[in-house]
Assembly symmetry: C2
């Protein structure tokens, strides 16, 4: 009798183990990874209150994404609602908290990509769209284009029914003060450049104050990856500068066969290295692991003199979050609901 | 005596063979490759006069690039002056011959990349810069940025001392008539879309009339590669649409270790496939030849439903010019001065 019960229990364990190896079971796995920007984020410069604010905002973002994934929503849906919470927070350089351009405007960029179809959408230099990530998605889903810029993109977003706000919505005192500091520092640099032989019409010396981006990558219950990135760009930026965030392949990329990636950092280096797609290419062509490919991509940026970080997620649920700065706001949540939020190294 | 002379001759031949294998000798090789757009270019639709015009313009472009390379100029210089001739011609959809947007404007994009340094520059949505390719180069060389869009980019170009023209400079009757045809065709399509379930705010049915881009890739005597692309985008484009031409990694890429690439075609597919960098990645990571990598990249575009072509050149002087359309304006010239111009398959 006891022997039969034992045998039955063994059999049940065996059956469960077999079940767990089936693709359908394995793909019940779902993951959300986010970042809120990389830079000189040092514990020494952080107040406990400020750190608590960031942890709370990152936790809210992850919880929002988790709820969507748990409810069976697509990774595209989960990425979009997760990024909304960060765009609506004044803490991150995206949406509400976007930094100011030299002319005192908030010009935002965003991109999304669907790993299942490799469909993608992006907007750059928009000033009136409350949630630029949704505009990027609308470009992907409601047009035959991938990228729209400036007033044209705003007109499209309006026709697509997105929330339009007056540019004043994006005013925050913190970012305005940041612009004043940057103008002061940059003008000192401009004078120095004027003296130096090689004249630079632009300077990026105080870059730690300047960058910051939000992003999310999700794996849904159907096993599909999606990635999104949203940013206010660079404090005191001039001349309609566009960074890597809205560039498919540079700051944002997703492909079910390899990985979903969202980057943050000194955008110019990410564009020149085609960072996001490079990770996918190293995985596909060199058969590198997600971890190794993500680390190699950040190493290349560093060797060239750039800095920043990125988040990457593959279909098996592996996560990589490398960065070569002092810190990166980041976090993950998996199907068990356990939320992890990290800031420093 | 005869024996000694013979031995001497053998020795000299041997010495010359050794010399030829030295990098310095081998790199006296120089090559210029250009394209003037891919599409439904059929001999049946071409008048002999029109074909002669195109052949003449392509020959001028190649001759200009050849002269620069022969004079020992850098591949960056050669690509720039070569593209100038095509931008200044009304025949190509770039600069003077740029197509019209829905609003009757000429909005141009361009990018350049230096294979030696992987420095890059790009502009998008500019309307007053006579030679957008030079603006792209100025962004690379005179700013710390990679990409600038719209009025900001124009302001920068002006400060950088580039030729600024009134928007009317870009008017050509041919392109204006093309816009009227496209508006008519697109509005028919818009009505059809309205009836269909999935509403598309934009349609690209008559794409053969719509695309076209110019590009050049050069290998100079110092063994450095450079690539550039310039375009007026898409006839009747709306909403500040940006294609692949100014996207580093999509329409333009250069790296001495792999290849220089300039693409032309249905830009959205080139962005989603990160076509230009993908060729470089296949060469670096899969050790594919330039020919195989270029062919594979066009095949991927085709599989996804897109069409177009590209030119690619590696440091050994190998050239690939694949396309999956009926024709592509293209040509090459090497250090022997022999110019080859091709249009059809």
């Amino acid at each position: 009798m006891i022997k039969t019960t034992k045998s039955l229990i063994y059999l049940m364990i065996l059956a469960l183990m077999l079940l767990a190896t089936l693709p359908g079971w394995a793909q019940k796995k779902y993951v959300m990874v986010i970042h809120g920007g990389a830079g000189t984020i040092l514990k020494a410069n952080m107040t406990p209150a400020k750190e608590a604010d960031y942890r709370e905002a990152l936790t809210l973002a992850l919880k929002t994404g988790y709820d969507a994934l748990k409810a069976g929503k697509s990774s595209m849906d989960a990425v979009e609602v997760t990024i909304h919470t960060m765009e609506d927070s004044p803490l991150f350089n995206a949406g509400k908290g976007a930094v100011f351009t030299h002319d005192g405007k908030n010009e935002m960029d965003a991109a999304m990509m669907d790993g299942k179809t490799q469909m993608a959408g992006a907007v750059a230099g928009v000033t009136t769209i409350r949630n630029p990530i949704s505009a990027a998605r609308a470009v992907m889903e409601k047009s035959e284009h991938v990228m729209m810029v400036g007033q044209g993109a705003e007109q499209f977003a309006k026709q697509a029914g997105l929330k339009i706000v007056p540019p004043s919505y994006f005013y925050t005192k913190d970012r305005w003060d940041g612009l004043q500091r940057a103008i002061k520092q940059d003008s000192v640099k401009a004078v120095l450049d004027h003296v130096s032989k090689k004249s630079n019409l632009l300077g990026i010396k105080n870059r730690d104050d300047k960058f910051g981006t939000v992003g999310a990558v999700a794996l849904d219950q159907a096993g599909n990856l999606a990635a999104g990135t949203s940013t206010g760009g660079m404090t005191n930026k001039k001349y309609g500068r566009v960074g890597d965030a809205p560039i498919i392949g540079a700051g944002t990329y997703a492909n079910n066969e390899t990985a979903g990636i969202s980057a943050t950092g000194w955008g110019e280096f990410y564009i020149r290295n085609v960072v996001a797609y490079d990770i996918s290419a190293m995985m596909e062509y060199k058969k590198m692991s997600l971890q190794d490919a993500a680390a190699a991509a950040i190493e290349k940026v560093g060797k060239m003199g750039g800095d920043g970080g990125l988040i990457a997620l593959d279909r098996a649920g592996n996560v990589a979050m490398p960065f070569n700065t002092a810190g990166m706001y980041r976090g993950t949540v998996t199907e068990d609901g356990e939320i992890e939020v990290l800031i420093y190294k």
